[in-house]
């Protein structure tokens, strides 16, 4: 087939207003800056994040340590499926968790339609939107984000950032060392749809539930204020 690219580009060039060289374009762009949003204060970040999670219909558990995180995952999987199995990517941070001691049988790889529970380890959490940043790569195969009924995402408190732009600063840093992953996804809730008379239903095609295991400390009073239950171990 004939390549229409040169013709379209020439037409664009002829019709567009600008006629600057690359350097001037880069300067003009830099001068435009980034979004004018009020940055969150440091002491607002956690509460804002938790509030967004609640709005986004995300389930939350707080774990003070990695062994506790595993135990909480084990209890959830057993309660929901009367089993121990879950699938996880080849993220080193996931591999280093004490699964056996905690009672979870993890298969490391990409989710298949038979897998009910997948576990991911977030690169970043974003307070502004209540999102978890996940890459689609060897560490976290894309199928693990969308193919299972339950998606569990572990987020370390130190990886929580305030804004979308803050998260992208981290993504740029990662990309510089690891290369650009095939996909960068902000997961902000369970799969949902309002396509039948605007009635919001969870679990359209992807996970019915999104469960965040927050590794760190959250004051009990804050959890209650936001509307999350404190689940005993």
């Amino acid at each position: 087939m004939a390549d229409s690219g040169p013709g379209i580009l020439a037409e664009v060039r002829r019709r567009q207003y600008g006629d600057a060289d690359s350097d001037s374009i880069a300067e003009d762009l830099a001068a435009l800056g980034h979004t004018p949003v009020r940055p969150l204060d440091e002491d607002e970040v956690l509460e804002h994040f938790l509030t967004r999670l609640k709005t986004n219909r995300v389930d939350l558990e707080v774990a003070a340590s990695k062994p506790e995180a595993v135990k909480r995952i084990a209890r959830f999987v057993y309660r929901e499926y009367n089993g121990y199995r879950a699938v996880a990517g080849n993220d080193r941070r996931l591999a280093a968790l004490p699964w056996r001691d905690g009672g979870v049988l993890v298969r490391f790889g990409a989710a298949t339609p038979e897998d009910a529970v997948s576990i991911s380890y977030a690169r970043y959490g974003i307070a502004e939107t209540g999102s978890m940043v996940l890459y689609c790569n060897r560490d976290n195969p894309a199928a693990n984000n969308w193919l299972t009924r339950d998606h569990i995402v572990i987020l370390e408190s130190r990886d929580l950032v305030a804004s979308l732009e803050d998260a992208w600063t981290g993504i740029r840093r990662d990309t510089d060392t690891e290369g650009l992953p095939r996909g960068v996804t902000l997961v902000s809730g369970p799969s949902s749809t309002g396509d039948i008379i605007g009635h919001l239903v969870k679990g359209a095609h992807g996970p019915l539930r999104l469960r965040v295991i927050f590794l760190g400390h959250v004051p009990e009073e804050l959890l209650t204020r936001v509307g999350f239950e404190t689940l005993p171990l």
């Binding site: 037409e11 193919l147 396509d195 239903v201």
Partner: protein, 474 residues
């Protein structure tokens, strides 16, 4: 898709007689603006949209630079970039890719571009099985209807209509499907098999990032992500104006897009894709293609209508438009309904066959107020009407009427005297009944409602009186 925009008036007339559908649309026109307003109140909407407009203007002013940069990055990331001058070229390119991998099944995410080119029909004619996987798109696909809204394609259908459709089309035996969750669960099961068996996945894109070569996909269902991941070939169809220079610019747009479209700060999934699976990835497509469509957008670039190229397809102008809510999406007769469609359809398909659309406007200005891309929609609609008049597409008696009005407006004294006299006569004639059930040259109005008798003199007379009163007080 077959265009019926030239029958807008007839389509709208039929839609207005469908009482139940009208009630649903009225509900939509109340609910969606309420949700949008609450979400937008969280941010400085004016500052955000001004910023996004500056970025978009800069991008469009230097579009060839960013298109070239994007092409380089896509190739660098291991993808293939194709250009399509028009609908036929895009459809042919997709079919070529499908044939090159001997594909039989295609899974599609929601893409207005492919609605524009009629891709599904083209592929089906060539013998491929094509499944729309966005639930709303799937519903209208099995119903054999076009979408009625760019965000909620099946907003026009009732719960009972969808229930009957599923019971009829899914051969799954006796069942009740008592509520929307039950219907969604059934669609999930039926479509899951389609996701897993698709050879090719096709999606649209909310933005193309020049710096990184990424394509942005915003969804709540996750269907677009599944078709980007499971099939061996991933095709992204997007139009050339979707470029954004940096990822941060797309993030700025996301802040406005989700709030305007569905009244939330963010959708469940916001994904940036950039190529085929990497060497050590455990899943993902083997091939990644991006097809950039022109389809007359270069004609809009640099014209008086360039602002329209900033449209982010949020659909908020639709649910804020009294004409859209009254007439429904199908009346517009093509892919894009409502105010944005009334501008875009004539520009992409020709003013002659879509000439009713720019006139389907009350000039209330709500669309421009809420547009996150700062598009002056009423101004563009007015300019299109002026073009219709100039090109003699407007009926002769309208043109003569406009000409007379234009001439009269050049003589304010005479204008005010004549309109004042007309109002006085109408006031006197309608004093007893309070209105008119028939009026010469206003049959369109009085056919469906009475014309109220004017009260209290012309606007200019009242204005002068008020100014005089305040001067006397001052």
């Amino acid at each position: 898709m077959k265009q019926t925009s030239e029958h807008f008036l007839e389509n709208a007339r039929v839609a207005l007689t469908q009482t139940e559908a009208r009630q649903r649309m009225t509900g939509l026109g109340q609910l969606m603006p309420m949700m949008r307003d609450a979400a937008v109140a969280e941010v400085d909407f004016e500052a955000l949209r001004e910023h996004v407009k500056r970025i978009k203007d800069h991008t469009l002013d230097n579009l060839d630079h960013y298109l070239r940069q994007f092409e380089e990055q896509v190739v660098l990331n291991g993808g293939h970039l194709h250009w399509a001058r028009d609908a036929a070229e895009l459809n042919a390119t997709v079919l070529d890719i499908c044939r090159s991998v001997e594909a039989r099944r295609v899974g599609k995410g929601k893409s207005m571009i492919t609605e524009e080119t009629g891709l599904t029909e083209h592929l089906e004619t060539a013998g491929l099985q094509v499944t729309e996987t966005d639930l709303g798109e799937y519903i209208v696909q099995i119903a054999g209807e076009p979408p009625s809204h760019i965000v909620g394609p099946a907003f026009h259908k009732s719960e009972q209509e969808i229930r009957e459709l599923f019971l009829d089309q899914h051969k799954l035996g006796r069942r009740r499907l008592e509520d929307p969750p039950a219907m969604v669960a059934e669609a999930r099961e039926v479509l899951r098999e389609r996701f897993l068996s698709a050879d090719v996945g096709i999606i649209g894109s909310n933005a193309l990032i020049a710096e990184t070569g990424q394509t942005l996909l915003v969804t709540n269902e996750g269907n677009g992500d599944l078709v980007s991941t499971l099939p061996k070939v991933h095709i992204v169809c997007a139009s050339i104006e979707k470029l954004m220079p940096r990822p941060e610019d797309a993030l700025a747009q996301i802040r406005l897009l989700a709030r305007s479209a569905i009244g939330t700060a963010v959708t469940a999934y916001t994904s940036f894709y950039s190529g085929p699976r990497r060497a050590d990835d455990l899943d993902g497509p083997e091939q990644y293609h991006v097809i950039l469509l022109d389809n007359r957008r270069t004609e809009i670039l640099g014209s008086n209508y360039q602002d329209m190229l900033a449209c982010m397809r949020c659909g908020t102008c639709l649910t804020h438009c009294p004409v859209y809510i009254g007439a429904g999406g199908h009346a517009y007769g093509w892919v894009y309904p409502g105010p944005m469609g009334s501008v875009l359809t004539p520009l992409l398909t020709g003013l002659e066959q879509a000439s009713d659309l720019p006139n389907a406007c009350t000039s209330c200005g709500r669309c421009a107020e809420v547009c996150p891309a700062s598009i002056p929609l009423p101004d563009l609609l007015r300019d299109l009407r002026a073009e219709e008049n100039h090109n003699k597409i407007t009926p002769a008696r309208w043109r003569w009427g406009l000409k007379l009005h234009g001439w009269l407006a050049r003589f304010p004294g005479l204008y005010q005297a004549l309109t004042g006299a007309a109002i006085a006569i109408l006031h006197r004639l309608g004093r007893r009944s309070g209105g008119f059930s028939r009026l010469p040259m206003a049959g369109g109005w009085t056919q469906v409602r009475d014309f109220p008798a004017p009260q209290g003199g012309s606007f200019m007379r009242q204005w002068k009186r008020r100014q005089k009163q305040s001067a006397d007080r001052g």
